[in-house]
Amino acid sequence: MSNLIQLTNGAAHIVDNAWTLIKLPATQVEARKQAGKVVLFKLTGEKTVTETQVANTVIPANGKLIVPLTVLIARKAELQTRIDANEIGVWLDTHEVLETLIENQANLNALPLIAVHVERCADGRIFSLGVLLRTRYGFKNELRAIGDVLRDQLFFLKRSGFTSFAIRADRSATEAIASLNDFTQPYQGAVDEVRPAFTRYNRAG
């Protein structure tokens, strides 16, 4: 049974996964992924992915692929015909800088899918990345949460602009689906409903 939940026009369904996730080969170097990226990465220019890893990433010849951000950037020429054929999506980690994607892929909507990988369910950067992709950069296609994606984050992910959710393999997507609707009338405006309660309803009664 698939563990992928997809929202279509507000309705959630469990669907088969048409996309293959491409991972970077393992590295010997320990990456400091959880550090604040501005503090440690942007200022120091420290890289979390090596060129060898990018070069050694195996890209299957066929099918729909979600490739790592670093691979999309470094091997774009190689992937271009498949991007044009709508076969390439991209995924980024929560510590990666969104501007890197934008600088290298001006037309985000040429990508049918963007996924954000969350290593630990308590990492809330995924929400801001979703919000920025939707509101700042105008991404309109499928936005998928992958990694340590659990039921109790779904409501927030949905409100942050995510439209599909790859529930962690050891958990039931069938049970998780209910939590997309934990709350019916949230207070603040967000991606899925931009109006806050105070303009959505006549609360003055």
């Binding site: 959880q34 801001s128 009338q185 207070y187």
Partner: protein, 560 residues
């Protein structure tokens, strides 16, 4: 105070359902400890030394008598018939059962209460001045804006899992009583040159392991933009705050690492996109919320009352209480009253269920059925007639709520400490009790005058020791409990962080250490000086000499 409409009520009801289901999954083994932890924390539930501890939200410290009675009943039924009021104007139960928490939440929801975001790495309870709406020096009553910010922050999807906890305080007075500089975001509301409501915004303050006072990030922000500007700040923090080390994860560390100018330019760049977005507060919304905090139906009274004057002249106990525990009010003939939760020899901030019921009765009879929790861990009746003060005092005294020590040495701010809290390095309540007993002479306390003594059982600083005139920090040295003492800290407009006077002390030594600090002050003070003024004028040297001079010579004698 704010009354729920159907949207507010539905949200807390749905929260009860959600949390009941989360608890069920945890007990059924469907959620691991690590997965359940952020869920229960965001609902105020800690697993503590003896039992879970449940922290219940009291938004900006406002309670109705009905809510307080419900809290008293919950404490009786699910706990040991007492609660602990906290420095974030909330209340904690120290002994509930994990399995009972969904039922407790369901009971709370019937009186428009909850435990949402009282802990965990999210936006916490909004705090403000306990005298909001009644203080004579108030420029703007900040409570309507505090409520609007509370609603915005509740289940904010983008900020549900921040690097660390995030605290916002608001104030609307010239003399800051909400310690806005000690918060992740502090907002001072004021009227600008055009007589429009505006906000001065501080960012990056906080206590804990690395105490830092906040820095002004914006001198002038129009009130409509309060939420979008907070969104810009919290977004920069959410994306860039450190997540590798929880001790370096607060926004203050990010602000310090980037520098305020770089941090501010990032926030302003974010805000350029967010300004005028749908979360911009409308005139209609402020107009909807403000009447909830409208002035009470006060009577037209003279400010003086003959019976009060007679009672003051003839009743020393009442006079002492009125001097310390009664505060000015903006309406003639009314006063605010602090009911002390600091009786000597009892845990600071604790109230029994019986006391809560008696306070609820006092609120109903004398103060329009409402009360407030102060961050100094006392309870406030905000609207008492001068002519009723004697009756209030008599009833409060009968219930152990009239210790005339507000603002005095024994009005100690104190965290639960090692008796209850699994984070603590050392006990704090017994230290507070020992100091209260050492200084149990009321005339002497009044002679010492205004002084703030704050105790934290660990460097998480729940007892705000950094900003105590005298601050005491419990530390662990080789498995035993020691206490580090600092002096010169202060909250308010002239906020400052205390300086450590030297090596730490054992618990037994603490009352005499405080005594020596007080002795130096009493010797050296000028006529107008309070303790903090003398410390600021002289520095810590004479205090240090007094405390350690004798200690050293005592040790030398032993060595000989």
């Amino acid at each position: 105070m704010y009354k729920y409409d159907e949207i507010d009520q539905r949200l807390v009801d749905e929260r009860v359902t959600q949390y009941r289901e989360q608890t069920r999954r945890y007990l059924a083994g469907e959620l691991s400890e690590d997965e359940f932890r952020p869920l229960r924390l965001q609902n105020g539930l800690y697993i503590q030394r003896h039992a879970p501890m449940l922290r219940i939200a009291v938004p900006y410290g406002m309670l109705s008598s009905k809510q307080l009675r419900k809290l008293a009943d919950i404490a009786s039924r699910y706990d040991k018939a007492y609660g602990h009021f906290t420095t974030r104007q909330n209340i904690q139960l120290n002994w509930p059962k994990l399995e009972d928490v969904p039922d407790i939440l369901a009971e709370l929801a019937t009186v428009e209460m909850h435990a949402i975001q009282t802990s965990g790495n999210c936006i916490r309870n909004i705090t403000t001045d306990q005298f909001a709406g009644v203080a004579p020096d108030e420029v703007v009553d900040p409570r309507a804006m505090a409520e609007i910010i509370r609603q915005w922050s509740t289940f904010h999807p983008e900020f549900a899992l921040l690097p660390r906890k995030f605290k916002i305080a608001v104030s609307g007075t010239k003399e800051d009583r909400a310690v806005v500089q000690m918060h992740d975001i502090g907002m001072e509301f004021y009227l600008d040159h055009h007589h429009k409501l505006a906000i001065k915004v501080w960012v990056g303050g906080g206590l804990g392991r690395t105490p830092i006072l906040g820095t002004v990030i914006r001198e002038h922000l129009e009130w409509q933009h309060a939420l979008t500007y907070c969104e810009a700040i919290v977004r920069v923090y959410n994306l860039h705050g450190r997540r590798d080390n929880s001790y370096k994860a607060r926004i203050k560390i990010l602000v310090k690492a980037l520098g305020i100018d770089a941090f501010k330019s990032q926030v302003e760049a974010e805000w350029a996109h967010l300004k005028d977005a749908p979360n911009t507060i409308t005139e209609a919304e402020l107009a909807r919320v403000s009447p909830h905090f409208a002035p009470m139906p006060y009577l037209a009274l003279a400010d003086e009352d003959a019976s009060f004057d007679v009672a003051i002249a003839s009743n020393l106990g009442f006079a002492a209480w009125a001097k310390r525990n009664v505060h000015a009010h903006k309406v003639p003939g009314y006063r605010a009253v602090t009911l002390s939760l600091k009786p000597h020899g009892k845990p600071p901030g604790d109230a029994t269920s019986a006391q809560m019921h008696s306070v609820a009765d006092l609120a109903d009879q004398y103060s329009f059925g409402e009360l407030r929790v102060s961050h100094e861990q006392n309870l406030i009746l905000a609207d008492v007639k001068v002519s009723d003060l004697l009756s209030v005092w008599e009833k409060a005294r009968a219930n152990g709520l009239a210790s005339p020590n507000i603002g005095l040495l024994t009005d100690i701010i104190c965290c639960p400490g090692g008796d209850f809290c699994s984070l603590a390095n050392a006990k704090s309540i017994p230290i507070a009790e020992a100091i209260q007993i050492q200084f149990d002479d009321l005339d002497y306390l009044h002679d010492i005058g205004n002084i703030e003594l704050n105790i934290s059982g660990c460097m998480n600083a729940c007892g705000h020791h950094h900003v105590g005139h005298i601050g005491i920090l419990g530390i662990d040295k080789d498995g035993s409990e020691w206490y580090q003492v600092s002096i010169g800290g202060s909250q308010g407009n002239h906020a400052s962080l205390g300086s450590v006077i030297g090596p730490s002390f054992s618990a037994d030594e603490m009352p005499s250490v405080v005594q020596k600090l007080i002795d130096v002050y009493l010797q050296e003070r000028t006529a107008e000086e309070q303790f903090i003024d003398t410390v600021r004028r002289l520095g810590i040297a004479p205090f240090k000499a007094q405390v350690y001079g004798e200690k050293n010579s005592a040790q030398n004698e032993v060595a000989v």
